[in-house]
Subunit: 149 residues, 12 copies
């Protein structure tokens, strides 16, 4: 499920419902699909000297295990936990095990949405947060990660 490489690797983890990106509500989330975004990140990673792996899951437990699997195999994480941002202590606990840079990304401006989306369970334990820039946010995160690693 999660492949590993022998060189410097970055794991990009997408949370629940992001597999539907570009297929529904393009006026909010744009027309780029998750595949488009992942390809763009791999390309940009190549230019920045990073081996970019990507993973999407709708399951909290799988997100936990994807984070655990990076330990010893990757040098950075970009994570958009989507709905689990606001509810998952398990994802937080998994990220607490990691000792390399982690960047939190949100596509939309979570402060314009329902109050329960204003609270992130992980913001205080990540290296930085980028929010509101749509798919561009992942690319900004990758640039930032390239400097942090």
């Amino acid at each position: 499920m999660i492949q590993e490489s022998s060189e410097a690797v970055v794991m990009v983890i997408h949370g629940p419902n992001l597999n539907m990106l570009g297929k529904r509500e393009p006026e909010i989330y744009g027309r780029e699909t998750l595949e488009d975004i992942d390809r763009g990140l791999e390309d940009l990673g190549g230019r920045l000297g990073l081996d970019v792996k990507t993973y999407q899951t709708n399951h909290e437990g799988c997100m936990v295990e994807a984070i655990q699997a990076t330990i010893g195999n990757h040098q950075g994480i970009i994570i958009n936990p989507a709905a689990y941002t606001h509810t998952s202590v398990a994802v937080r606990d998994a990220l607490l095990l990691v000792d390399f840079p982690v960047i939190e990304v949100h596509l939309s401006n979570i402060y314009r949405r329902e109050p329960f989306r204003h609270k992130s369970m992980i913001s205080d334990i990540v290296s930085g947060v980028i929010s509101g820039f749509g798919a561009k946010g992942y690319r900004l995160a990758l640039r930032a990660l390239a400097e942090l690693i």
Copy 2:
């Protein structure tokens, strides 16, 4: 897992622990098993001209994916998210992707139970809510859905 039909289809989704229905605490939840309920809904669906599909899961991620799978394949959802009613932003996000009627059902009167059960994460985004009528509530929901579709 989720079968599709070529005619008008309604998906009934049951949340965690509902697979135990009729097996434990019959004085609270009655003696009907989930299988009994599902058979009854298929029969009533037949009389109302609806093809009723049913699905039960204990996994939040699977409930998300069952909802995603209705898009393009079904014309209505009846959902009793059980415990996930009160905790799941992911289920809410999946339902936000859907543009046909969704009806929320609860077997017991959630307002007589613990305060954390008084809050539903989805009530404000569904077409209607039916709560407290036991298994009868699903049948009322199916009748309502027949009129809404």
Copy 3:
């Protein structure tokens, strides 16, 4: 004011401002007037073997007294307390005196409206709640009541 019958009787009680139904804001509440709804309930009651009585009031005290008057004379109540849903302890106290089934109905989805409408003073003491189905909700309630009595 409240008439009684010698056979099985159901009282339908409508709260404040519901007398204006169908006359204002049809895009929200539909074009059916309260008279249309009441006639439809009487007809459906006839088919279900129930003698349906209806009553509308804008006065909290009158709603209390209409509930008191059902004791010994009726076998079920369908109540849409409208604004008094959220503020009336007196209506709650009157319903606590009743020992036959009571069903709470709301025309609109109260969870999409102002936060003070999310709280009902009676949900925890009624048999069941039906909310968000417009005038259809009364008819679903009558069907449910027919099974409960």
Copy 4:
């Protein structure tokens, strides 16, 4: 509706649903009817040299007007606002107009009931509060009033 006398007069005001006293739930509220209580108060009043008038209403507005009507005609009020205890600013405002002793009575122990019954809108503006003694509470209040007037 509210009769007046030419000598020292005390008005006893009973709130909504107290007209059902002794007719429902005798295990909670006892078998004394409101009429029994009122007769007992008139008798005790006679022994204490007080002319006791009594009034029951289910209407907030009528309770307001009953209080207004005591001004200039009575020398004390015993009030059990029942449900309006917890919700009525109007009853509070009417009592603020009065400058003779007012005693608040509750039949049951309101602190054993739902949290919204723990708050009284009038306790801070009355002379004293007697709660939890059943119908006996009115008689204690009358004795207290006899000393205060």
Copy 5:
């Protein structure tokens, strides 16, 4: 109860206990009675070309019905709901039915009084609020209404 005129009409609605104005606590509310205020408003209305009708009630339900009765018959409302300002969803719902200007008036500065008086159930749905100017506030409201109609 509520009279109508064939020309442009403004309804002034006074809430509970305002019938006692000028009779109690003149140091707070002044010595003007409600009748004095109403006469003054009729005179000023005449000078501004408005036919001013006035109405006082201690009953929430009557206030609701007085508001309903303006529909189709009046062109503006000035309302001082007094105690119902802070508790009545029913009055709010009635005002939501109206589509001409409504002005909320309070005699005293409600922010100097008990915290439960700081919250108005209608401020967010009226055209404007005037508070703290005593009886003068009604006259300012009438001037404002003359410009808004």
Copy 6:
């Protein structure tokens, strides 16, 4: 410290700072000293056929032990826990051990004072509460106790 009698006995327990009664702030608490009150209660007890014992303490632990000591020796308690009303779980726990009537008394109207005095730790477990009548409140409580025993 606490003496016992061979006949029906009532224990009156006074909390911290009540030993200063009548000595400070007479305009609030009156000029009666605690000794005056205790003598008056013994007299009234005699007339009501009750043997009244009294006890004052400034110590939470001693109040707990005075309550424990009534078990098997007394038939009723009148308690004014003063400051411990609002803070003592230990006094509550001691009263939970008792199975005869307990009446809570407060001299002043606690709802007119600081918000932390509005909450009693024992009101929901006593037979009744009498508050705001000054020293008279003890005598009302003794009359009530005479009827309850």
Copy 7:
């Protein structure tokens, strides 16, 4: 900056961003510029026999000093503190130093906007509040002030 006159003078103080009035968002705030409003107030002041001075500032400290400067030189203040309404204890403290009438004005209905705008730091210490009438509100305030001085 703040000019003084030898006759009865009223100071009108406008808070931050009001200098942009009429230049941005005319659909919300109208097309009148602050200069237009100030000229209109000077004219109306002339007719009412008041010498109207006006001042706008974006700085909390300058608003404080403008209020201090009125002491001994003016007989009334009309203030629209705009954003500082909700955050400034310093402006409140300055107004507490003043002993002539102060009227608070808001152009828009602050109860329709974000919750943090519902709270004013000064409403409880001013003579009156006028809110929601746009530029007209200043003129109503000037009329009210003319009566109060």
Copy 8:
């Protein structure tokens, strides 16, 4: 996944991220791995006459199903739901189906950590709670269970 035995059996359920025990942050959680703990529990179980089964999962739905699977097959549960302690209504609902003793264990002192860890969704429905003793806590729980069964 979950094996069953024909004699008295105890199920030990470990929640998310506990599979990493002993591998990360040994200064907090000690150097014992989950395998070490499980072996120790089996040994101690043997001495206490209990057949100890163990199970770890990162998935909320799997924890629910592991609990369901104990019904009819086991006589006791020791559960450390880790992150799901604080967020899972589904785990609570599954435990509500069980009618033999359940003991809740936490390795670290949850009251020294973030406030959201102070609240357990299951503490009020289990037989007892043991928290803060590290791996020793499981062994204390097993001893307690041996006495309770």
Copy 9:
């Protein structure tokens, strides 16, 4: 009051009303008296090589002093502060002075009782907490302490 020994000593401190254990409400707390429990702990201590001292008090100040007295004389504390668990900062402050292991024990499941019992003032500063096991909890605590010392 508190005796000391020349070898390794553990102090067991019981809070208010625990002296009544076994004498009242045996269905909740069991029939073991505090003396039974203390004898059992001394016996078990003997087997574990610990000199167990016990102390019960109803007085917050005495509990503080008992804790202070362990410094330099004991090697561990088992404390059930009972009611003072939820209210005593003084007991917390005394425990902060101690640098050997302290274990908090509760007989009943405090999470099933009133909300004010859910909060402990000391849980975050003790080594571990054992709650809900009745008198068995003390014995589990002694075993745990034996390993910690």
Copy 10:
């Protein structure tokens, strides 16, 4: 226990656990013992013309009685109620009886500690508060008291 003198006297009252001062945690509270502080205060008092008495207690009830005992015998109080600062209504009530200056002292900066220490039950009824200066705070308080008496 508390001795009195025939000249102007100041009572210094130290709360629970302050008897351990200088013996534990010197890095936080310094190496001065309470005896050192008391001697220093007596010396400084002598230079300021004040007869300084000191008293330490771990018992809330004793603190109450020490305060009561100052009435008529002393002219000022310096009090550091330590833990009782945050929990004792009884100490507050005792201080309300006193009509000479009272100064509240805290050794450490209570705002840097747990949130429950940020609230003092007495700050609003004392003459002044000095906090965070260690033992020096008592000496500043004595100087202040010398000016106030």
Copy 11:
């Protein structure tokens, strides 16, 4: 104070105390001074085809005016309001006047700091937020702005 250019211009606004950057607490904020950061942004702007202007102020009113001054003269804003992020409605109101992209930047991870820093008054009205990357955050923002303009 704020210079303008004839080509596409971006304004970078730094809030209070950022003028001390690099001079104090380098372990937290790094050794780059604000001048270093500004030079770096001008350089990067040049490469991205943007004319970068920079401005620092410690004054809320000046920040408001700097934002107003961009209207008509600039095409984008990068703003780090520092302390005013959490308190300034005035800055929010100024940004509401702007209709080109605005990016909010924070040097440190505000979610690791005091709770009052977790709330931003502007996050819901800006295009995006970048937080926790130190001075790098400005450069990421400039890249994002280059794409948005």
Copy 12:
């Protein structure tokens, strides 16, 4: 604006509206003007061997800059931020840059005033707090500072 000296210097900073001291409300704040206080502090400073500088401002930004200016030039700060005590994160941030003693002073007892004055934004980061002693508080602070430097 802020002068410096070549010897040990202490800066006294007074916040908004303190320039009016002694001119308004002398019954609350006394008749000493700020000039009187500053002169007294310079004199006392001389006796204590401290060079006292003083500064008053109504502007938050100026207070920030006055604090910044002490770095490298002064050895201590006495600050009474007045209204900014309760609202200014910017002043807090400036004080966080300082590494010599800072003492917070309030003239009046802030706990007797409005609730929003009970919270200080700086108390947890200063050396100590002196509140309620009027102008004397500054002099106590200067004595304390003399010992701390």
